[in-house]
């Protein structure tokens, strides 16, 4: 009988001890090494294993390496707020200088962030903001005006600034898309009188619905010269339909998309250019902003400015927000540099 108890005890102890020692050695070096002037920055994306955040964290790490701080990337497997909280708590325990987080919920992680700030950690949000009261700074990837303008500029360039275009949006009540579409209409009316917006259809961010709506658009508007899809699902579905149809080369597709989704359509000539922000730059800027906060160069007050390495100087805007800049345009020349 004793053998049995001791076997199980020994096996359990050995396995845990092994596991802890194995990880203890390597992990301790990049953990919160807060003293001695080096800034420790922890990146907490919505979830790990997400190419978008892999790219932004890569930018963050590049920036932290540049200014000689210590970088750590942690995060949950699933993008849920309750799973993010333990990692925020851990950052507070470690006393890291700054935490850069993309919030899974604007409110649910607020208390944890407040506790971390109480422990002296500066909190920068990027990609998805929390309530402004819960963080020191938000790095905004793009403004609605910027997103609307880049799409109008792209379609105008692609079709020679004249002809019929249509918009393939997400759902009819999608807040972001509707705001962008309104701004695009204003922009078209003011600066592009020869472009006629003949239809706005909604694919509900569903691949098949967007595909079908593309087909319907092309049949009901034979003179259509371009489809603008301000949603990543829509632009990919529209490009897929056109790339295998007779309309390829006659009807242009542009809008907001990700390089991984759009690569084959750029290579086969269906799409000449599309836009989004550059997540690598976003992470890079967030890391420099975190350092500026930790150093006390800025506090998050409107009008303060700081330098973000190769990206240059940035100014803090209203609501402690820093704008990354104009959206980034992807085309055949640069698309192979991006993987998200």
């Amino acid at each position: 009988m004793n053998t049995k108890r001791f076997t199980s005890l020994a096996a359990l102890t050995a396995s845990v001890a092994l596991a802890l020692t194995a990880c203890g050695g390597s992990g301790a070096t990049d953990a919160g090494d807060s003293g001695g002037g080096s800034t420790s920055v922890t990146f907490l994306p919505k979830n790990l294993g997400n190419p978008y955040f892999d790219t932004s964290d890569k930018g963050g790490k590049a920036a932290v390496d540049e200014f000689g701080g210590s970088f750590a990337e942690v995060g949950p497997e699933a993008a849920s707020p309750d799973a993010q909280v333990p990692f925020i708590n851990t950052a507070a325990q470690q006393g890291v200088n700054a935490l850069v987080v993309s919030a899974n919920d604007p409110k649910a992680i607020c208390d944890a962030l407040d506790e971390a700030r109480g422990a002296g950690t500066k909190v920068v949000t990027f990609d998805s903001d929390t309530d402004p009261s819960c963080r020191d700074l938000f790095i905004n990837q793009a403004t609605a005006e910027g997103i609307a303008k880049v799409q109008v500029d792209m379609v105008a360039e692609n079709i020679g600034d004249s002809g019929e275009i249509a918009i393939l949006s997400a759902s009819a009540n999608a807040t972001n898309q509707n705001a962008w579409i309104d701004l695009m209409k204003q922009d078209l009316a003011a600066d592009h009188p020869n472009i006629e917006l003949v239809d706005v259809v909604y694919g509900n961010d569903d691949d098949q619905t967007s595909f079908d709506k593309t087909s319907a658009l092309l049949q009901s508007h034979p003179n259509l010269k371009a489809i603008v899809a301000p949603t990543t699902v829509g632009i990919a579905a529209a490009a897929r339909y056109i790339s295998t149809s007779d309309y390829k080369g006659k009807v242009d597709v542009t809008g907001l998309g990700t390089p991984d989704q759009m690569r084959e359509y750029v290579k086969d000539g269906t799409v000449t250019q599309f836009a989004l922000w550059n997540p690598e730059d976003l992470g890079y800027l967030a890391a420099y902003a975190a350092k500026a906060l930790a150093d006390g160069t800025i506090t998050g007050a409107e009008g303060e400015s700081f330098t973000a390495g190769k990206l240059g100087d940035y100014k803090v805007g209203a609501d402690a927000t820093v704008l990354l800049g104009d959206p980034f345009v992807f085309d055949a020349k640069n698309i192979d540099q991006f993987h998200f």
């Binding site: 396995s15 953990a31 949950p76 506790e115």
Partner: protein, 352 residues
């Protein structure tokens, strides 16, 4: 808790100290001391409160889950009940109800969920694995359907802080008090009542339990109702702690609960296990995750380590059981035959 003659014939100190439960507790202490010594910041003031808050819902649900698993059944729907309860608190509060009333309705709804599980398992006679996989999807579906991808977050500060405040501003969160009371209640029920002895009897052999006067159906129904009711209470805590009612709250929590229960020495085949081992199992997983997070170990590696630990604990238990069965058979062949011990020995091999 193996009900074998050889186990009961050992001296008291052996029966207390040389158990699977004592091994898990010892391991918890060892890991805790190791982490304090070797893991940077583990000895900080925030470790204990965060650890207790993080493990609170798991600990709560592990109590009734232990009883369910001791009967040889399982309840996979608990995390979905947490989600449903969270959404109910949110939706009812959004429509003007005060938090305590909304919480009460959510807990009652939880009891109803448990009654459905229990009815299908105990009275219709369906396997609990199948029933609760079904209700896992069903309750989560209702939760997500009620609130969609939105969240309710406008809970009054006095209730959300109740879920996070500490006793006398010390390191122990307030929520430990209801957990201790509920835990004590379940410990009494399992270890000191005839209802509790019936639970073990069902797990060992439910036909024999029936013939010895245990109301198998009623016992199972009660346990499933308790599991869902406590899960719903955990859902209320979850909602207030994160200040956010969401349909996807606590997704996957059932696996953490079951892993902790099994690690704590409860046999998945039923009939064996004790609550102090389960408490140690829950805390052990909590301490390991906390220490590894402090070392910035990625979440995948943490899952791998806890998974391996669980597999090893099951394997070592089963291996040791076989070994001890072999040893007692060899010993018996050299002495006078003891028919009851043979039965018990064979039994132990399949239940340990």
């Amino acid at each position: 808790m193996s009900r074998t003659y050889s186990a009961w014939s050992r001296p008291l100190w052996q029966r207390v100290l040389l158990t699977r439960e004592a091994a898990v507790i010892a391991l918890l202490v060892v890991v805790w001391l190791y982490a304090r010594a070797e893991v940077l910041h583990f000895d900080g003031p925030l470790t204990l409160p965060y650890l207790l808050l993080d493990t609170a819902p798991i600990l709560l649900i592990a109590f009734p889950m232990t009883l369910v698993i001791v009967t040889g059944e399982i309840d996979l729907s608990v995390a979905s009940v947490v989600g449903l309860s969270s959404v109910l608190v949110g939706v009812l509060h959004q429509h003007g109800m005060s938090v305590p009333v909304a919480a009460l309705i959510a807990v009652v709804a939880g009891a109803a969920c448990g009654a459905l599980n229990g009815f299908l398992v105990a009275y219709v006679g369906l396997p609990s694995l199948a029933v609760t996989i079904g209700t896992l999807a069903l309750y989560r579906g209702i939760a997500v359907g009620l609130l969609g991808t939105t969240a309710v977050t406008d809970f009054p500060e006095k209730w959300t802080s109740l879920a996070k405040d500490r006793i006398a501003d010390g390191p122990i969160p307030l929520v430990v008090i209801p957990i201790a009371l509920i835990g004590l209640g379940f410990a009494m029920l399992l270890h000191y009542t005839s209802f509790g002895r019936g639970i073990y009897d069902i797990g060992l052999n439910d036909e024999a339990a029936r013939f010895s006067g245990v109301n198998v159906e009623r016992t199972k129904l009660v346990l499933f109702v308790l599991a869902s009711t406590v899960s719903a209470f955990a859902g209320v805590f979850y909602t207030l702690r994160y200040g956010s009612a969401r349909g996807d709250n606590a997704t996957g929590l059932e696996l953490q609960v079951i892993a902790a229960v099994l690690l704590g020495g409860v046999s998945i085949f039923g009939g064996r296990g004790a609550l102090h081992g389960v408490v140690a199992g829950v805390l052990l997983i909590g301490v390991i995750s906390s220490a590894l997070r402090l070392e910035n170990v990625t979440v995948n590696v943490i899952s791998i380590i806890i998974g391996l630990l669980l597999v090893l604990s099951v394997v070592s238990g089963s291996f040791a059981g076989r070994l001890s069965g072999l040893v007692s058979r060899i010993r018996r062949s050299g002495s006078t035959p003891q028919p009851p011990a043979t039965v018990a020995g064979a039994h132990e091999r399949e239940t340990v």
